[in-house]
Amino acid sequence: MSSMRRRSILKGLGVCAGASFLGPLVSRLVSADTPPVCRFVFVVDGNGFDASTLLTDSARAALDATMSAPLGASRAWSRSYRHASPLVVPATDLATASALGSLAADGAVAAQTSVIYGLSSKVAGGGHSGMHGVLASARSVGGSPGGPTIDAHLAGLSAVRATTPRATLRLGADTSGEPLNFGLCATQRDRAAPVMLQPGSAFDSLFGVVGDDASMAAFARRRDLLSFARADANAALATFPGNSRERRKLETYLASIEELSRRDERLVELAPSLVSVRPPGPGEDTDYASNDPLVRFEVQMRLATAALLGELTHVAVVGLGTGGAFGITCPSVINVDRHQLQHEGGEEPTYVDALHEITRRQVAAIGEMASTLAATPEVGADGSMLDHTVIVFISDNGEQHHSRAEEFPTLLVGGSALGLAGGQTVAFPGRGAETAHRQVSNLWNTLGHLAGEDLNEFGEEGITRIAAGPLAELMS
């Protein structure tokens, strides 16, 4: 990366606590007592959405002028790129993109919306799902992640976590009927982090302290449980005859009990503020029990929004059909499973429409989150919560159903106060441009920089990494 571009990045660097070298800039923006806030939300689609759903007319015109052939009705075009440097197109016509109408409807959101094309992540592998690969920029082998995912990395930064009780909130929806999915996130290599698939459980975990009588009773019992577990663990350790390495197993368990106790105590402290942000619970909203994963995804998005409003977390992941469970059926759209929709979409136009409708609904849920955050002032800083939150919409697979991981179309919303540019479509050169091509790992570097970290490496691409560092074109 050239020194000129790096200076531009430093100039526009995010203002999260930790970027101490910005000194006067930080003190101007932040009150004396409250550190600035950074939040990150990753909305992940399982198996992939069509690049065409994010394409505005202006971006289409700009790309058509550079591609090997006009895009026409193409749904994906990773091998048609011919430009040699990033194409930056102002996005003044978001509403012309089939999935972005909901974002265009809110001016405050539209101004902070960007579409990114051209980023590859070959290390993720492709196929039907790269599993943890795209968020980790590392290959998942046999279901085991090759490294920590970006959400775990960011949540590990004290500047991001701050005093929130929960490092990361991971939610999802599919049709497996299972409570957890281990195929999307990871805290480290070979250590998957589960995604909660049941909105009811997520509600209890987040808002049990201020839920209905049943939820509050369950929360109180949980505190008793942890107290009992602590006493038992202490008793076990007091008489433990094993060696230090074995002892450490029990000590870690005790430390986990203590951590959860502290988290619960923090929830009690936050309870008064959580009352106002608590969404309707399972007993009040029938969507929690819907058999439609898209509807449950929408519930999970509302829960994530409430969690952000309530300062329960600063990092959230919400997936739909991720972790290999992409063969979902969304009856509210069509009674055909997504796998069939993809395979037979070539012959059946209504199937493609259905796929695009699913994407529209996902983006609409993002829009709802973004609008809520845009309407909420940031405490201790100028601007809205959206200004201090970056929402990323990406797939876990890539450019098409049987993906080669050659392109991961991405939507970015928010983050203007962190230094993220909005209101544009940026198309990076394709893989044929060799050294000018960029990868998803560069996007993760960008987020790290927005969080105040000098994150120039991420993942396990090794020598297949083309360029280190963030994407200057995304920084304001």
Partner: protein
């Protein structure tokens, strides 16, 4: 949560890391008469550089699956072997000396890592490097300092332990019969909790967060504990799993009437409370007798919860009493003793080695874990005899252990007791009648690694086979992966049942399990006629009202759903339909023999496309699982590992040859790929999904290979295909020993060490006739299984 498995060694010196390109020191350190560096204070050898060298070799050359360990590649670069490097001749360039103290440029070892070895000097080291590592300066500094290998205060150096670095011959030579294992606590496995709360696979309880670190056997226990996220999710999921002692129909109410008072009485008596706590802990949570302390703590929870009740218990606990009982059960499941099973033992009076022996309760839990994931004495479970033996003390007798193993090792039963509760009852009739202990079945799944056949994407599964253009291959193959339609089995389940029959019949007949595994032609298949009306004949769809005429299977009418089952026999290359009565099929001679020719294994170790380098995955497995030699991990690869693009004219073999064996980085690539490619090429007669190829990019399928680098030289030579190779493997005593090492690892939940040599030798003797059961019995009755040492035992 898991930490890397590391073995701390004492190294000769403190680390002193220098970066590549550092200038030579201007003031050479003081040296003794032998030219070795000494302390400035004049006392003893300097440790300034030696530990740096030791750590460099440990990180890059002599550990974690890398090559330069005893018995593997020359030279041995482990810390204890360093003195032998000084003045030793290179085998690659005999005129060169590996290490010349004080002179890096005359030291061939340094030249190899600096890429200055010349074209005759072989590949740059470490293997896989595209350029010298940043820290080769540590080796330069060490040599400049005189290559010291002894000093006064050696600091620790952490070296990942790799049992594949042990000499297999020594590993099976008994020298010191008395041994033990390191005392440990074993965290609950995921499926253990599922089954111990009385639930089956796929239930809510099955989705608990006790996943195991991948890449090792799920039975391994090192550093496996509970982090905050795992605990949070476990607590969230607890209520869904704790039926037995909380619900009327959970099991305890009708299964143990002594507990009814706890459900029904307005205020249970002290005796009732005490009994409920004891029964809950003994048969429902701890699966051992609780200590008085544990009993008292949980009793207090019960009493406090009773005190909170304001209404009555409700009918059979359906009122507030249910909340009380759930509070007690959930608390019980958070007890340390519930989540961590003890293998600490009790001191053995007079033992000259200060060993401890597993207690009756501990031995019962350990034995149960050898059989499956259910607990001894579990309410409604099948291991009541194990509990009884623990209670009367006979479990400490060898005869009792053998008898208990024999009682639960398997047999033939069409109701498949081993699968009880784990699969849909409608699937049972589609399974074979042979069954083996669940833990043994799981061992084969993990050892052979074929569970992945259900999840790996296969593009055009029948490509290059005679069935490439056969209708409905895609949906049928999908069903072989997920098994949704027709309640038919997946490829993985079919291999499960095939292996069960091999083990059961071999044990009964005295046949050799190991040999049969690699030579059998009797496979268990799914029926493909479930949605076919075999009584019908048709030529067009008009002949099939409400269905379709399926010409490819003999012109019968197919009912809706047939597409997902009609071609499930084709991966085996069969022409004839497989009826429900004829699921056991003898494979055509010359096409398949042994588990390594089964589509489940082939697919699990195959790529996504037919021209992917599946040969490399298969060769990798064979090297590590049949010859116990580690292939350096991908993390060491630093060259651009790229195959040629897919091309009609290029087969998988061509792509591997062009990209790896003859490419610009061939010298580097073949350092590792020489261990894999030749072993995998014989399997190129099959495609990525396990179909037998009929053609291969315009040429006949080619399974030929030359084997020349196995530790069992009797296997060296040319082979024509996979069948010839697996036939040879079946007769290899080296492979047989490696197999036993994996058996040891899995059932002991740890890697073997030299301290286990007598146990392995005994297992080998028991396995001489081919009885896997005898080998497992020998293991379970060995000192390694029964005895523990707080520090220093084998781990």
């Amino acid at each position: 949560m898991s930490l890397p498995h590391r073995l701390v060694l004492l190294a000769p010196a403190l680390a002193s890391v220098l970066t590549l390109g550092c200038p030579e020191p201007t003031d050479p350190p003081p040296t003794d008469d032998a030219g070795r560096t000494v302390d400035d204070a004049g006392g003893g050898q300097s440790c300034e550089s030696t530990a740096g060298a030791v750590q460099f070799f440990a990180n890059n050359c002599a550990s974690n699956g890398a090559c330069h360990v005893p018995g593997a590649q020359f030279p041995d670069l482990t810390s204890t072997a360093l003195p032998s490097l000084v003045g030793a001749a290179s085998r690659r360039a005999p005129a060169e000396r590996l290490v010349v103290p004080g002179d890096p440029m005359e030291s061939f070892l340094f030249l190899k890592i600096a890429d200055m070895q010349g074209p005759e000097g072989g590949a740059m080291m470490p293997i896989g490097s595209a350029e010298p590592l940043d820290d080769i300066g540590t080796i330069e500094a060490w040599i400049l300092a005189g290559a010291p290998t002894d000093c006064d205060t050696p600091p620790p150096v952490e070296v990942p332990y790799d049992p594949n670095g042990l000499d297999q011959g020594e590993l099976f030579t008994c020298v010191t019969p008395t041994t033990s294992s390191t005392a440990r606590v074993r965290r609950l496995e995921r499926r253990q909790w599922t089954h111990q709360v009385g639930e089956g696979r796929g239930s809510d309880a099955d989705q608990n967060p006790f996943d195991q670190p991948a890449g090792r056997y799920t039975t391994f226990t090192d550093d496996v504990t509970i982090d905050p996220e795992t605990l949070d999710l476990f607590i969230l999921g607890l209520p869904t799993g704790i039926g037995p002692y909380t619900l009327e129909h959970g099991g305890a109410y009708y299964g143990d009437r002594s507990t009814n008072c706890a459900f029904n009485d307005a205020r249970p008596s002290d005796a009732c409370i005490d009994n409920f706590i004891d029964q809950l802990l003994l048969h429902g949570v701890l699966f051992r007798h609780p200590t008085p302390d544990e009993h008292a703590r949980l009793r207090a929870v019960f009493v406090a919860a009773l005190d909170r009740e304001s209404g009555g218990p409700g009918d059979r606990g359906r009122g507030e009493r249910g909340v009380t009982l759930r509070a007690v059960s959930t608390s019980a499941w958070l007890m340390t003793g519930a989540l961590f099973h003890s293998e600490l033992g009790e001191p053995v009076e007079g033992d000259p080695f200060d060993r401890r022996r597993l207690t009756n309760d501990e031995l019962a839990l350990a034995l149960a874990a050898t059989l499956g994931t259910h607990a001894p004495g579990q309410l409604g479970g099948v291991l009541a005899d194990v509990r009884a033996a623990a209670d009367d003390g006979t479990i400490q007798e060898e005869g009792t252990l053998r008898a208990l193993l024999a009682a639960h090792r398997g047999g033939t039963d069409p109701t498949r007791p081993d699968l009880a509760g784990d699969i849909d009852g409608r699937d049972i009739p589609r399974r074979g009648a042979y069954w083996i202990a669940p833990r043994t079945a799981d061992f084969f799944r993990e050892y052979l690694g074929y569970a992945a056949s259900e999840t790996i994407f296969k593009d055009t599964p029948a490509a290059t086979s005679r069935w490439a253009d056969t209708p409905h291959i895609g949906p049928s193959f999908s069903n072989l992966q997920h098994g949704f339609y027709g309640y038919e089995t997946t490829l993985a389940s079919q291999l499960d049942d095939t292996i069960a029959r091999i083990v059961v019949e071999s044990e009964a007949s005295g046949a050799d399990v190991f040999r049969t595994l690699f030579t059998t032609r009797t496979f268990f298949l799914a029926s493909n006629t479930g949605y076919l009306d075999l009584t019908s004949t048709c030529t067009t769809n008009a002949d099939c009202p409400g269905g379709e005429c399926v010409a490819s299977v003999g012109g019968h009418c197919g009912t809706p759903g047939y597409k997902s089952t009609i071609q499930t026999h084709r991966p085996y290359g069969l022409e004839e339909n497989v009826t429900p009565e004829g699921r056991w099929v003898e494979m055509p001679e010359g096409e398949r023999a042994g588990v390594l020719t089964h589509p489940a294994w082939l697919g699990a170790h195959g790529g996504n496309f037919e021209d992917d380098p599946s040969a490399i995955y298969r060769g990798h497995w064979i090297r590590e699982h049949l010859f116990c030699q580690s292939v350096p991990p991908l993390g060491l690869v630093r060259v651009d590992a790229v195959l040629p693009e897919h091309d009609e004219a290029l087969s998988a073999r061509d792509r591997i040859r062009i990209g790896i064996e003859e490419g610009p980085e061939a010298r580097t690539c073949m350092g590792c790929h020489s261990q894999m490619n030749s072993l995998g090429m014989p399997f190129e007669i099959y495609n990525h999904a396990g179909f037998l190829r009929e053609t291969d990019h315009g040429r006949a399928p080619d399974g030929s290979s030359t084997i020349d680098n196995l530790p069992d030289v009797s296997l060296h030579g040319d082979v024509t295909d996979a069948l010839e190779l697996t036939q040879s493997i079946a007769g290899s005593s080296y492979a047989r020993r490696c197999f036993l090492r994996h058996v040891f690892r899995y059932f002991m939940g740890r890697d073997e060490t030299m301290a286990d040599a007598c146990v392995l030798a005994s297992m080998e003797a028991a396995f001489e006739g081919g009885s896997l059961d005898a080998a497992i019995e020998t293991l379970v009755t060995s000192d390694a299984f029964l005895y523990r040492t707080i520090e220093g035992g084998a781990r």
